[in-house]
Amino acid sequence: MSVTFKVNGQSTTVDVSSDTPLLWVLRDVLDLKGTKFGCGIGQCSACTVQLDGEPQRACQIPISSMEGMEVTTIEGLSSDGSHPVQQAWMEVDVPQCGYCQAGQIMTAAALLARIPHPSDTDIDREMNSHLCRCATYLRIREAIHRAATIVVTE
């Protein structure tokens, strides 16, 4: 089926079978490889994108439900790493292998948009759906707090 939606601000039309998850459309049709495949069952959140600003698991979203929607991927957050969350992630040196971090960053950015100065409890609640196999969790907490200060000074 043909579906038209916005990806990182640009209108896009794809023609794939209706049950194709958004994840695989992003990765293999639109060549946006930043959104990662980890489990395919909505358990790890490596595939997190923002749909109309809300973090969602791209592996659980059939393309048929995307008509007219607006999706932001890690590539759309900023391509030069200038978004405060990306900056904070680099300053704190969060990544080990790095595979889960795009998904983590998409949820963190959505959290900060809603709660500019989240508490540790807010962070634990919002970020708990994300798996980091390298367990960079202490730095994820730290980087979100750091990003909150970058947002303020801008």
Binding site: V16, S17, T20, P21, W24, D28, D31, L32, K33, G34, T35, K36, F37, G38, C39, G40, I41, Q43, C44, A46, T73, I74, E75, L77, S78, S79, D80, G81, Q86, W89, M90, D93, V94, P95, Q96, C97, G98, Y99, Q101, A102, I105, D120, I123, D124, R125, M127, N128, S129, H130, L131, C132, R133, C134, A135, T136, Y137, L138, R139, I140, R141
Partner: protein, 739 residues
């Protein structure tokens, strides 16, 4: 092209080459013994291995080639830091490039065993220093001044007396004409003058990671590429008798469906059905319709329950192999004031790297191109060559970043699968495993069973220790080191009457190395049992550990020195972690306890304290962890080092809390993260204090040795909190409720 070679009569030498487009290339080679006849000025022969590789261009950029695979251990950042330090350049001007597999030029292009730092630290320093030496010599020649009158700072050579300065980029061409120094004797910096090594440096790939650049194996895309899935028999090594291939090729987008016969080597190419489609989703969707008649083989009734029963039976007989015997343990036990007996076991566990196994392959014109996230590119190439009959020289392996590995990607089954499929198809093919494939076709941390007997004298000294270790293996020996226990493993040489015997369960489960192999199970057993002995003797668990460490006696004759822990180094980290955590000085509420443990592995000394709480309903939470580690005289990248240690600690906590792979009917029960739980953010304590004790020893690796102690430290904390002794893992199998 000017080429200068020095030190031909030595094991290592520097080769310097001017680049056609301007700039200079420094290469440090290790020469194998047969290379002694190579003449100056000739091209390096295949038996010279290039190990360090620096390119300096007129724009003052310094490019350092990273030969080792980056799997999240941070090696792509830390090894170049060492080169840059001695070269004396600004880190912001350094670029790092990943090298492809090149066995003619590099040695030891692999990741594992926490080897990279100890293997490369000295060579990296010497090469950086030698390159700096030549740049200084070039400036000295240009200005007609002695080299001793020159200094360097951040990639600039300075002549203080005249105020003249020249950047490395400006000097690069001239440097190639200088005589290289002797690598063995080139002066090195005093570590107290280090500006890069020992600081906190953010990972060189972080910008790419946070902006979603395609860096991982799964991100590889080639023109005309097809996507493959590969369905193997759930019973390991089972063969395909028949499959509904005609139905599969009728599915949307499917281009090919075929049977790969496969062999019997569980680490190699196994039988299965390949489905190749225009997109991965189409291939994976078609797979739901796959119907296979399997020949499951002789192991379709194996189970974890059966293995445990077999271990229990074996424990009642004498060990098959007498591994170690010091003193007379039976006599010592007979004379002991107290005897403590316990059975410990730990399960199979999976690696579960977040990037599923994948590999991209293109077979064309007799050549095979491979892109793979791998710890063992050479092993992968050689396995492909021998399995598919392709000359190794016709195989190119490009090493991508790995989305985690933890030992899993030392096995190269997925590489040979992709190659076999691509050879059949002709077009470029990317094979991507599903999470279920990954969970059910891993090389699991081998389970293990330990039957222990310890004896204490009237003063609470440990006078006897017997361990009957039941592990897995065929023909009375383990298949690999991860299923073994060394004769010299702790507490050998620390208990005067000590016996280790080993028995083996035959099996058909692929097992292998998982982060801190061997140690990740053994530390749990040894350090938990010491805790039991301490409580039985009424001695503080820390004090008993000091006692045991002070009881070291070297065995007569040679026994592979270096494998046995140095009691002094261990005592120092134990003391440090006890001090930092105020061990024994903190009043804790009911349901909260602290545990302590130490372990020596991968040349690293680690002691850790865990504080944990157990709720009335039996839920375990870790409040804080204190870590003290000694990995020698120098931490290379403090940021990466702390990240590794904290990650290893949390990895160990995850294993302890709930990770278990169970076998039933010859196959793995677990399939995804819902039944093989990784740690989540809420389970991570707010703080893990990491303290490095710098000692005179040479710097060693950090990927692994911080993991093992946390497992027993957590279990010992649970005992302190609840009085319940944990002798089997994971904790999720225990009822920890209390009132």
């Amino acid at each position: 092209m000017a080429t200068t070679i020095s030190g031909l009569d030595r094991r290592e030498f520097l080769r310097v080459t001017t680049l056609a487009g301007g700039g200079v290339l420094f290469g440090a080679y290790s020469a194998s013994p047969v290379s002694a006849g190579v003449l100056e000025g000739s091209e390096p022969a295949a038996d010279f291995a290039l190990n360090v590789f620096i390119r300096i261009t007129p724009d003052d950029l310094v490019t350092i080639i990273s030969k080792n695979p980056e799997i999240g251990q941070g090696i792509k950042t830390s090894l170049p830091m060492i080169v840059a330090e001695e070269l004396d350049v600004a880190w912001r001007n350094v670029r790092v490039e990943q090298a492809p597999l090149d066995t003619e030029r590099f040695t030891a292009q692999s990741a594992g065993g926490s080897y990279a730092t100890p293997r490369n630290y000295d060579a990296m320093r010497r090469t950086g220093a030698a390159a700096r030496h030549m740049l200084v010599a070039a400036a000295a020649a240009m200005w007609g001044v002695p080299a001793s009158a020159l200094t360097t700072v951040s990639g600039v050579v300075l002549h203080g007396a005249s105020g003249r300065r020249a950047t490395y980029g400006e000097l690069a061409d001239r440097a190639a004409a200088m005589t290289p120094p002797d690598l063995a004797n080139v002066p090195l910096k005093d570590p107290k003058d280090f500006k890069i090594v020992g600081t906190r440096v953010s990972g060189v790939d972080n910008l790419g990671i946070v902006t979603g650049k395609p860096m991982f194996g799964i991100d590889v895309t080639l023109p005309g590429m097809k996507y493959a899935v590969f369905g193997k028999c759930p019973v390991f090594g089972g063969k395909v008798l028949s499959a509904n291939l005609d139905e599969l090729v009728a599915e949307p987008g499917v281009q090919h469906a075929f049977i790969v016969p496969g062999g019997d080597n569980l680490a190699g190419l196994l039988g299965g059905v390949a489905i190749v489609a225009d997109s991965w989703w189409q291939a994976n969707k078609a797979r739901r319709k796959l119907r296979v008649e399997w020949a499951e083989g002789a192991h379709a009734n194996d189970s974890s329950v059966g293995f445990a029963a077999r271990a229990a039976r074996l424990s009642k007989s004498e060990p098959e192999v007498a591994s170690t015997q010091d003193g007379d343990p039976d006599a010592a036990l007979a004379g002991a004031a107290k005897i403590v007996e316990a059975e410990y076991s730990y399960p199979f566990i999976a690696h579960a790297s977040l990037e599923p196994q994948n590999c991209t392959a293109h077979f064309h014109d007799g050549q095979l191109d491979i892109w793979a996230p791998t710890q063992s590119p050479e092993r992968g190439r050689d396995m492909i060559a021998s399995t598919l009959g392709i000359d190794a020289d016709a195989i190119t392996v490009r090493i991508t970043r790995s989305g985690g590995a933890f030992g899993r990607r030392g096995n190269t089954d997925y590489m040979v699968e992709a190659a076999a499929i691509a050879k059949e198809v002709g077009a470029p093919v990317k094979l991507v495993w599903s999470r279920e494939d990954d969970m059910q076709h891993d090389f699991y941390r081998p389970a293990g069973f330990h039957y222990l007997k310890g004896g204490l004298d009237g003063d609470g000294k440990v006078v006897a220790w017997k361990n009957h270790f039941v592990t897995f293996g065929t023909g009375g020996r383990p298949d690999h080191g991860a299923a073994s226990m060394r004769a010299t493993e702790f507490p050998a040489r620390f208990v005067s009457n000590y016996e280790l015997g080993t028995s083996f369960i035959p099996y058909n489960i692929p097992t292998g190395y998982l982060r801190a192999p061997r140690s990740n199970g053994l530390a749990f057993v040894m350090q938990s049992f010491i805790d039991e002995l301490a409580h039985s003797a009424g001695i503080d668990p820390l004090e008993l550990r000091y006692d045991i460490l002070s009881a070291y006696k070297a065995a007569e004759g040679s026994e592979g020195r270096g494998r046995i822990l140095d009691p002094a180094r261990m005592r120092d980290v134990l003391q440090l972690v006890a001090n930092r955590s105020a061990w024994g000085k903190v009043e804790l509420p009911r349901g909260t306890g602290r545990g302590i443990a130490f372990h020596f592995s991968h040349r690293g000394y680690f002691a850790e304290v865990v504080e944990a709480s157990v709720s009335n309903s039996g839920v375990v939470s870790v409040n804080k962890v204190w870590v003290a580690g000694d990995v020698g005289s120098q931490i290379v990248n403090l940021s990466g080092a702390e990240n590794q240690v904290q990650g290893a600690v949390l990895d160990g906590i995850a294993q302890t809390l709930g990770q278990e792979v169970t076998i039933d009917r010859g196959r793995v029960v677990q399939s995804n993260f819902h039944d093989f739980p990784l740690l989540r953010l809420k389970q991570a304590p707010p703080e893990i204090e990491v303290h490095f004790l710098k000692t005179g020893a040479a710097p060693t690796g950090l990927g692994e040795p911080a993991l093992p102690p946390v497992v027993p430290a957590l279990c010992n904390a649970i005992f302190a909190a609840t009085g319940k002794r944990i002798r089997t893992l994971p904790l999720s199998n225990h009822d920890l409720r209390w009132t």
